[in-house]
C-alpha cells in the first residue's frame, strides 16, 4: 500500500490515523450536539464575560508575543543568560567560532579518528 511507511522498526500508516481521527471527531460532534441549542446570538450571551468587570479594548486585551511564555523565560533565566552570550551579532565572532570548530574537529579527527 502506498500510504504505508515501513522500514525496519517503523510502521506508520496515515490512513489508519485519519480513520481514527474521523471516529474521534464523530464522537466529539455527538457530545457537542448534547449541549443547549437555545442561545441567542448578538445578545449579551455571546459577548465576553469577565465576572462583571469591564472588558478592555482589543488592543489592550490581546496578549503580545513578549508576554506569552514569560513563565518559561523566568524559569530558564540561567540557561538563557548563558546561551545568549555567544549570540552577539558581531560578524567577527562568527569567524571565531568557525576557527574554534576547525580546531576542535582537527584535534578529534587527526589524533583520535
Amino acid at each position: 500500500m502506498t500510504s504505508m511507511l515501513e522500514s525496519g522498526y517503523v510502521f506508520w500508516n496515515p490512513i489508519i490515523w485519519l480513520i481514527a481521527f474521523v471516529v474521534v471527531l464523530v464522537i466529539v460532534f455527538f457530545f457537542r450536539r448534547q449541549g443547549r441549542q437555545d442561545y441567542k446570538k448578538d445578545t449579551a450571551q455571546a459577548q465576553i464575560f469577565l465576572c462583571g468587570e469591564e472588558v478592555p479594548e482589543a488592543e489592550q486585551r490581546h496578549i503580545r508575543a513578549d508576554n506569552i511564555y514569560w513563565g518559561l523565560f523566568e524559569t530558564l533565566k540561567g540557561y538563557y543568560d548563558q546561551v545568549l552570550r555567544p549570540h552577539t551579532g558581531i560578524v567577527n565572532d562568527y569567524i571565531l567560532w568557525f576557527v574554534a570548530v576547525i580546531a576542535i574537529s582537527a584535534i578529534i579527527i587527526l589524533i583520535a579518528g
Partner: protein
C-alpha cells in the same frame, strides 16, 4: 631560485592565511575586515599556485616541449578563476559596507549591528 627552500611559498601562504584570520576575528572596522578577506584570498591563491611548482620546471606554455619538467598548469587555471570570483565578492562586500555606513553612520562591526540574539 635554487637557494630558496621549496617549502617557503607554503610557509608564506600559511602565514598569510593565519594573519588574515587574525584580522577577520579581531579587527572591528568593516573595511579592515574586507581587507582581511582579500588577504585570505591571496593566501589561498598563493597556496594553489605554489603547489603546482616542480623543481626546475618551465612555464606550461609550449607546444614543442623542451627538456625537463613542466610546472603544473591546472592550479594556475584554478587560481585565475578564484581571483575573478574574489574580485566580484570584494566589490559586493564594499557596496554593502557603503550602504551600512549610509544607514547607520558607523563602520564598526559592533556599533552598526541592529540584530543580536
Amino acid at each position: 631560485m635554487e637557494h630558496i627552500p621549496l617549502n617557503f611559498p607554503f610557509l608564506a601562504a600559511a602565514l598569510l592565511v593565519a594573519i588574515s584570520f587574525y584580522i577577520i576575528i579581531f579587527k572591528k572596522n568593516l573595511i579592515k575586515l574586507i581587507m582581511g578577506i582579500a588577504m585570505l584570498a591571496s593566501g589561498v591563491n598563493l597556496f594553489l599556485v605554489s603547489l603546482g611548482y616542480r623543481a626546475g620546471g618551465t612555464a606550461p606554455i609550449y607546444t614543442d616541449v623542451p627538456e625537463g619538467p613542466m610546472v603544473l598548469a591546472v592550479p594556475q587555471a584554478l587560481t585565475l578563476t578564484s581571483i575573478v570570483i574574489n574580485v566580484a565578492v570584494l566589490a559586493l562586500m564594499l557596496t554593502m559596507v557603503i550602504q551600512i555606513h549610509r544607514h547607520t553612520g558607523s563602520l564598526d562591526s559592533e556599533e552598526s549591528r541592529k540584530m543580536k540574539g
